[in-house]
Amino acid sequence: MEQAGNRPAVNLKGQAGGVPFNPHHQETAPGVNLAVEIAGLRLANPVLPASGTFGFGAEYAPFVELNRLGAIVVKTITLHPTPGNPPPRLTETYSGLLNSIGLQNPGLEVFIREKLPYLRQFTPPLIVNIAGRTIGEYAELAARLSEAAGVDALEVNISCPNVREGGIVFGTVPAMAARVTAAVKGNTPLPVIVKLTPNVTDITVVARAVVEAGADALSLINTLQGMAIDIDTRRPALASVVGGLSGPAVKPVALYNVWRVARTVKVPLIGMGGIMTARDAIEFLLAGATAVAVGTASLVNPGALMAIIAGLEDYLLDQGLADIRDLIGALEI
């Protein structure tokens, strides 16, 4: 595909990584270990896509060798098809992206029937993100996905409002977050990763509650709640008024939360929030994350995941380190 005047465009100034994208990238350099373990899952490297930004994998297949990822994380699945929120659903902010998708997905049945067979062919563990409107829905999703071949772990999205309890967000109330976790845990033999929201006074309280309820790992942060107004129409820029903020703007907040939670609980963490480059990823590892998830960066540069994996390898070689696990939580205060 390369011709005069055309070359792959992954290596942008100040952007993800520094290697041109090669879908047939060589295996990890000899003598360097990138592999990590999360809740019994062995990941060949600590780099995952963030749920919701990676569709069901196939969308990114032209740019990302799915077999090279640490794990594959798919979009949130709900029990029934979810139409999502009305448009406009997106607006760009300074160094950030505000979105309000509303968990649009085809529902559990269609996922198992139409998406899972494709995803099964890849070797990295498959992590399915789930959300329910009630605790019962979480439990049912967990049970049914555990029976479906090819699912290796569940990531529980507790940042959605509970319809029955007047719209209270599960993830902001420690007791509710714990009940969701316990319900999922009680209905699956699979490892359970709980995804935490940063929109709380003290994230460590929620972290402790879900770990006590059985969470095998935590992922954080979900998006920060934000808003934008169009001064020409004088109306909110998003149809649903409030959306989730992601991208490099939120990175300092994400890193702080990861650092605090890492000092509070013993389970492994998947850190995320504004990771654009391998350097960003290393900050999260140093703060105590065992793996990282890359979201908005893929929207900007579809090859970002590959560039970040390669960048981690380069960092280890450059620093004379043999094992990425030596970086995890290695921050000196």
Binding site: T93, Y94, S95, G96, L98, T172, N199, V200, T201, D202, L224, Q225, G226, M227, A228, I229, I231, R234, R235, P236, S240, V241, V242, G243, L245, P248, A249, V250, K251, P252, V253, L255, Y256, W259, R260, G274, M276, R279, I282, E283, L286, A287, Y315, L327, A330, L331, E332, I333
Partner: protein, 308 residues
């Protein structure tokens, strides 16, 4: 005809325009580029009961679209402030808001006591949300403590009390309601979001204090969302602050329901930004056929109930 930019921030406190600096980001007359009397109000840096040195450096770090700081409210203490700083600030022909900091309920009260005899103070702004003291969870994030501190300050003064709210809470509207119940006259939001950065080469936190407060354009969407929430939840004047860098940003906050706005980090990048925003708002009003600024305050909320 030029549009009327004046707003009645509080009963009896009319500002010539809704633009003022965020505490700690503007020194009157330092970059001597304009007369501070042009501003809607002057907001001082936070005044502590006794001299505070502030945090160990490095105190600053630029992040993508933001500024992380762990300055830690250095202050010469209220006595030195009263003797040395206040007399100059009083000269300017605009409202004067004194930002008050403390580590305990009594400390806030002490600062106010020390200033009560002084003329020329339009209001106090209570800074509860400095995230840099203690373990990172400031007492301004606890609704009961917030209530007590505001109520205690209320006993000391009849002057208006503005409560500056921390965004690092689950429910900011709840905090605003507590402030109101305790006697606050207005709320200002948001203070900084707590954040952190790591130097991957040295494998150490960048800031001397490990973590700090994030400000600047990066946090604007969060600030706007909280202003929107609070303006819809409490019947108190709201001052919007958080990442406002230009006229358009300022207008978003006014349209969301803020009665005034504060400009912080943008002063560092552009010392003229506040007068530019004042002029920019005036032009916007004229171009869009509004005769006074109060016509656009909260205008984006029109038909809110239909959105569900």
């Amino acid at each position: 005809m030029a549009a009327d930019l004046s707003v009645e921030l509080l009963p009896g406190l009319r500002l010539k325009n809704p633009v003022m600096p965020a505490s700690g980001t503007y020194e009157c007359g330092s970059a001597n580029v304009y007369n501070p009397g042009q501003l809607g109000a002057i907001v001082t840096k936070s005044v502590a009961p006794v001299p505070w040195p502030g945090n160990a450096p490095p105190r600053l770090h630029e992040t993508t679209g933001g500024l992380l700081n762990a300055v830690g409210i250095p202050s010469e203490g209220v006595v030195a402030f009263r003797e040395k700083v206040l007399p100059t600030l009083r000269q300017y022909d605009t409202a004067l808001i004194i930002s008050v900091a403390g580590e305990t309920t009594e400390e806030f009260a002490r600062v106010i006591q020390a200033l009560e005899g002084e003329a020329g103070i339009s209001a106090y702004e209570l800074n509860f949300s400095c995230p840099n003291l203690g373990d990172g969870i400031p007492f301004g994030t606890n609704p009961d403590l917030l209530y007590q501190a505001v109520a205690r300050a209320r006993q000391e003064t009849k002057r208006p009390i503005i409560v500056k709210l921390s965004p690092n809470v689950t429910d900011i509207a709840l905090m605003a309601r507590e402030a109101q119940k305790a006697g606050a006259s207005a709320v200002a939001l948001i203070n900084t979001l707590t954040g952190m950065a790591i130097d991957v080469r040295r494998r150490r936190p960048v800031l001397g204090n490990t973590f700090g407060g994030l400000s600047g354009p990066a946090i604007k969407p969060v600030a706007l969302r909280m202003v929107w929430e609070v303006a819809g939840a409490v019947d108190l004047p709201v001052i919007g602050v958080g990442g406002i860098s230009n006229t358009s940003d300022a207008l978003e906050f006014l349209l969301a329901g803020a009665r005034a706005i504060q400009v912080g980090t943008a002063n560092f990048a552009n010392p003229l930004v506040m007068p530019q925003i004042i002029n920019g708002i005036a032009s916007y009003l004229e171009e869009n056929g509004f005769s006074k600024i109060t016509d656009i305050i909260g205008l984006a909320r029109k038909g809110e109930e239909d959105w569900g």
